[in-house]
Amino acid sequence: MVTIHHFMVLSAVLFFIGVFGVLFRRNLIVIFMSIELMLNAVNLSFVTFARYTQSMDGHVVAFFVMALAAAEAAIGLAILVMIFRNRATVQADDLSLMRD
């Protein structure tokens, strides 16, 4: 029997792998993919709760998250290409103008 705990632990594991990716990697593309992974993990917990509370609202929210992720992916990648065109770098710590 697969319970809610199985799915939620998996969701948490995927989310924290994504957190590690964002915090430990400097490559903008990898950071970007880690954010996608975190969004996916959150979607999994939405759908899990929808299943175990017997209401479909979680599915609708998951759909909205996916639409949001699509918009975010398109804009984020356009910004990434612009940064590479202007600065010729994809390393996050080369882009520290706003930090120091």
């Binding site: 029997m1 697969v2 319970t3 809610i4 705990h5 199985h6 799915f7 939620m8 632990v9 998996l10 948490a12 995927l14 924290f16 792998i17 994504g18 957190v19 590690f20 990716g21 915090l23 430990f24 990697r25 490559n27 593309i29 990898v30 970007f32 993919m33 996608e36 992974l37 996916n40 979607n43 999994l44 759908v47 899990t48 929808a50 299943r51 509370t53 017997q54 479909m56 599915h59 609708v60 998951a62 759909f63 909205f64 996916m66 639409a67 949001l68 699509a70 918009a71 398109a74 804009i75 990648l77 356009a78 910004i79 990434l80 290409v81 612009m82 010729a88 770098t89 994809v90 390393q91």
Partner: protein, 164 residues
């Protein structure tokens, strides 16, 4: 039987995610992420979420990953540009400890959830039911999402132009 399917899919998604985070080449990472997302689609199917399952395949494993892989190939990075600069030891340890603490806190909350698998009707999660819900109670967010997508399209056109 159900557990075997669950652990297989979970294994694929976790291994794919780990490979994505650890590989140096972004293209290898992107391909690992496709595997991870396809396995997640299988888990959605296990949860009676047909609609989300189809969208996960079409939108995530399809459209978004194609966009990412296309961008990686468009940038055509040299090995020099891909060289990873590791995070400092002390900083890395602090980040690691904080993340693990967050994970354990989450697991503590998780233990309060009830056991047991409730029954759902066979129509649960199919496109008709989810669509009816989406276009009745969630009408306003649905419209907001369409405006957001329009803004995103305009934004990308502006960004992609060399001079405005």
């Amino acid at each position: 039987m159900e557990l075997v399917v669950f652990y297989t899919l979970a294994g694929f998604s976790v291994v794919g995610a780990l490979l994505m985070v650890t590989r140096k080449s972004p293209l290898a990472g992107a391909l690992a992420l496709v595997v991870s997302m396809a396995a997640l689609a299988g888990l959605f199917a296990m949860l009676h979420a047909e609609f989300v399952f189809i969208l996960q395949i079409l939108l995530y494993a399809g459209a978004i990953m194609v966009l990412i892989i296309f961008t990686i190939m468009l940038l055509n990075l040299s090995p020099k540009e891909l060289k990873e600069r590791p995070v400092g030891k002390v900083k890395g340890l602090i980040i690691f400890a904080a993340t693990v603490a967050g994970f354990l806190g989450f697991l503590r909350v998780l233990l309060m959830l009830p056991e047991g698998v409730p029954y759902v009707a066979p129509t649960f999660g199919n496109i008709e039911e989810v669509g009816a819900l989406m276009l009745s109670s969630y009408m306003f967010p649905f419209e907001v999402i369409s405006v957001l997508l329009l803004v995103a399209i305009v934004g990308i056109v502006v960004l992609a132009k060399k001079s405005i």
